[in-house]
């Protein structure tokens, strides 16, 4: 099943800033080029930056572009340190191969791109002949400017299995699936980003309240969302409500900070819905005209009274009630939903659904300073080239038979079943992987030892990356060198960004190539009809022609960027959302489905509900006694992006080790001092982190960094840059929720104790 896409009436009009700035200019001995920072290294944003190159074409400096309405010259440490990434001596410079028996050993042999193309094509075609194209998995990370191309590459090879190895696809995809299936669109908090005038646009209003639910946007920078916009809004008068067991900087400046037990977001949301409905605080007009299933929702939330839900969340009832009243009372309320919703509960979907419904019944969709429907610049949100496979072939995607709702999210295979299939041949054999923009062994998902077994069971693994990663060293047979965004031309694609922009090449490192070019080269070998373009520019012109910016070429876009579409609020009243031109939302009923027909069609509960996470201190008291702390992980850091940047001197110098945050009272109880190396351990495994004693975390929990490896250590197996000793994923099982989405990576249990000398 392919989802309907946002149409916004097929309108292809756009406007530019009209500043007539050149794309590049001279400044003394340096050349300055304006571009978009995306990707690699990975990032969810796409800030506008100025790249400074010297007379030899070497990148020497990066600045934020002061004329960009998106980031206004502002920029984070990772872009500023980009020259250290681009010019790093450890960059992969050319394609390499290694004999299968030498996996894990530093026995690489340089080959040419042509040899890589020939040999990988031959291996993949052999596997295709023997096991079918579906036995090759195409795995990406969260690196973003990749989905457009890797999905097409997978499909053009004949495989219905592009994927992303994170248990329960529990980052972003559950939110997307839930929002799409209930409202027909994706939505993000409206910070005035849809127009170049931003906060000064006369049609824009700041949110009266902004709910920061389960993330720290300042560090996380959700997709197309510059986190520090929240600070802009605070300074203009927006009041924050933060829902997070951690006392973040934003939480400390919030009207209300609800420090709930990890994994109970769904209980809080249902309790709030109960208050909003029973106290008659909802928007009757919007509910009557634009929502479906309100009576069923009203009946359901009676099972979740605020006093009981507050008890579940370990919070005072007054806080829950106050949050509900503020959510509904504001002139407009925006919600920045975060990763915790995907991860903190094995049943992520109903928790997200409860919030989606709360936004609906308070009338906060498609209003200024509420939730914004980002339009898709490029018509690729759910896959460019989906039609390359037949519906029968798509039905072979691993996971959609067992978990039909997975097909509502994104065209990825179900990751937990993929990892199993790689070892067990169930539901069918997987024999090769193509891993691009991802470092799964060090970063992405749980049970890393099982993952290693899965990858070692393959006949061929290809890794495309910037650096030799632990994954590449442990399992790859071929590594292909990828470019940073400074070394390639491209389009800023994916995730419903709210502007059109290009990525502009300014330098070249070794024989590295951009991800889109690599896909095009292999596409030419595997299925030339599916890749009829000679060059990357030609390919991107074709993408643009198929977009909602249909009247622009890459060269024009490079000059005009950023370009914006006309922003209209309350599009559902004006027939601007549905492809049939009728008023309403892009759902079966044309309304926001509080009672979800999409969930019902997949055999799932159509209404939100709450279940305890697994494990739960309430349901599993004996286990909790043995491992008495709740273990969270996955929080972002200013100095890195997931497993990236560990070898970048300036950034590593400011964050040297994997840390675990522990409350001073908890630390005292376990005899741990700030800076001690500690073991975190539970029934699944253990890892070493450095204790950071801080009241930022509640006493009941610890919060551990993820994605760590030590590039300075021995990369060969079994050390693999130290991952087996320091990877918090050793403590995480891969168990998805009933829908196939969501997992519990934020409320497992653990114990903590000091590392002894020599360990």
């Amino acid at each position: 099943m392919e989802l309907a896409r946002d149409v916004i009436n097929g309108d292809t009009e756009w406007t530019a800033l009209g500043t007539d700035r050149p794309v590049s200019w001279k400044e003394g001995n340096l050349t300055v080029t304006r571009t978009t920072a995306r990707t690699g290294p990975g990032c969810h944003n796409g800030c506008f930056v100025l790249l400074y190159t010297d007379e030899n074409g070497k990148l020497v400096k990066v600045e934020g572009d002061p004329e960009s309405p998106y980031n206004e010259g502002r920029i984070c440490a990772r872009c500023l340190a980009l020259p250290e990434v681009v010019n790093h001596p450890d960059r992969l410079m050319y394609p390499m191969k290694r004999a299968k028996e030498d996996r894990g050993k530093d026995k690489w042999q340089r080959i040419t791109w042509d040899e890589a193309l020939d040999e990988i094509t031959e291996k993949f075609n052999e596997i295709k002949e023997k096991w079918g194209a579906k036995s090759v998995q195409f795995l990406q990370g969260t690196g973003r400017d990749i989905s457009t191309y890797i999905l097409r590459l997978a499909w053009s090879f004949g495989s219905p299995n592009p994927g992303y190895l994170l248990a329960g696809s529990s980052c972003y995809l559950p939110r997307i699936a839930s929002l799409y299936s209930e409202t027909g669109s994706f939505w993000i908090a409206d910070c005035g980003q849809a127009t170049p005038e931003r906060y000064d646009d006369p049609n824009y209003q700041i949110p009266e309240y902004m709910f920061i639910w389960g993330n720290n946007p300042l560090q996380a920078n959700a997709d197309g969302f510059f986190g520090h916009w929240v600070v802009d809004l605070m300074r203009r008068g927006t009041k924050l409500i933060t829902i997070d067991p951690r006392m973040t900087w934003l939480a400390s400046r919030s009207d209300l900070h609800i420090r709930l037990r990890s994994g109970t977001d769904g209980a809080l949301a249902l309790g709030m819905l109960n208050v909003i409905i029973n106290e008659d605080l909802y928007d009757h007009d919007f509910v009557d005209k634009w929502c479906y299933g309100f009576d069923q929702l009203k009946e359901r939330v009676q099972e979740y009274p605020p006093d009981k839900m507050a008890e579940v969340c370990w919070i005072p009832e007054e806080q829950l009630v106050e949050a509900a009243r503020k959510f509904a009372a504001g002139n407009n309320t925006a919600v920045q939903m975060g990763l915790a919703l995907d991860m903190s509960n094995a049943e992520a979907i109903p928790a997200i659904q409860a919030i989606v419904n709360m936004i609906a019944i308070t009338g906060n969709y498609d209003v200024p300073g509420g939730m914004l429907m980002p339009y898709y610049i490029l018509n690729t949100g759910f896959g460019w080239g989906y039609d390359l496979l037949t519906p029968e072939e798509h039905a072979q995607r691993i996971g959609v038979e067992k978990y039909p709702f997975v097909a509502n999210g994104y065209n990825f295979s179900q990751p937990d079943m993929v990892l199993e299939a790689m070892r067990t041949d169930d539901p069918y054999p997987v024999r090769a992987t193509w891993i691009q923009t991802s470092n799964p062994l060090a970063c992405t998902t749980g049970e890393p030892e099982n993952q290693l077994k899965s990858f070692l069971n393959m006949e061929c693994n290809v890794v495309v990356d910037l650096f030799m990663t632990p994954t590449a060293m442990a399992v790859a047979d071929y590594v292909l060198p990828a470019s940073t965004f400074a070394e390639r031309d491209g389009l800023r694609t994916c995730d419903g960004c709210q502007y059109g922009a290009t990525i502009n090449k300014v330098t070249q490192i070794g024989e590295a190539k951009g991800d889109p070019e690599i896909e095009l080269m292999f596409g030419h070998r595997w299925n030339p009809e599916a890749w009829p373009w000679e060059t990357v520019d030609e390919m991107h012109n074709a993408l643009l022609a198929d977009s909602f910016m249909g009247n622009i070429t890459v060269d024009e876009l490079r000059q005009e960027a950023p370009i914006f579409k006309k922003q209209t609020y309350k599009k559902y009243e004006k027939g601007l959302i549905r492809s049939d031109g009728q008023p309403g939302f892009n759902t079966q009923t044309g309304r926001i489905e509080l009672y979800s027909l999409a969930l019902q069609a997949c055999g799932l509960d159509p209404l939100p509900y709450y279940e305890e996470p697994v494990p739960s201190p309430i349901n599993d008291p004996e286990l909790f006694e043995k491992y008495p702390l709740i273990l969270g992980t996955g929080a972002r850091d200013y100095m890195s992006f997931h497993s990236e940047h560990r070898q970048i001197p300036t950034l590593r110098n400011l964050k040297k080790d994997p840390e675990v945050e522990i409350n001073p009272k908890t630390a005292e109880k376990y005899g741990i001092e700030n800076g001690d190396w500690v073991w975190l351990e539970n029934q699944y495994g253990k890892c070493q982190h450095k204790a950071k004693v801080t009241p930022v975390v509640a006493e009941h929990m610890v919060m551990a960094d993820h994605g760590w490896w030590f590039p300075e250590e021995d990369g060969e197996s079994p050390n693999n840059y130290g991952i087996w000793r320091i990877n918090v994923n050793n403590l995480l099982p891969n168990i998805p929720g009933k829908s196939g989405f969501g997992t519990n990576f934020k409320s497992q249990f653990c114990k903590i104790y000091k590392v002894k000398d020599g360990e």
């Binding site: 002061p66 010259g73 502002r74 500023l80 520090h228 300036t650 801080t694």
Partner: protein, 117 residues
Amino acid sequence: MVNSMGRKGLFIDYEYCTGCKTCVVACRMEHNLPQDQFGIVVSEVGPWEIVPGDNHWQYSYVPIPTDQCCGCAERREMGKLPICVQSCQANVMKFGDIDELAASMQEKTKVVCYTIE
């Protein structure tokens, strides 16, 4: 010797400084400083809960220029902002005439102003 009428300063509304250390890294990269030296550092003040259970926290970050801060004189000659001011993610820094900056300190609490030159 700079006349006091001509002094320049760095103004920071630290109520909204988030501690992202963009200024630290921007300065290092602009001026090619050694890894263990900085033109500006960020001091974390807190976090502690002022009255336990009250949910009122002391949790601030305050950037402090070092002796190696030159106010990005070369950039200013080119009509640009100092790199920390331009890059600041929270947009809380200003550079300018000390008299004007001092006057704008009347507008709110939790601001600091450093004389740079």
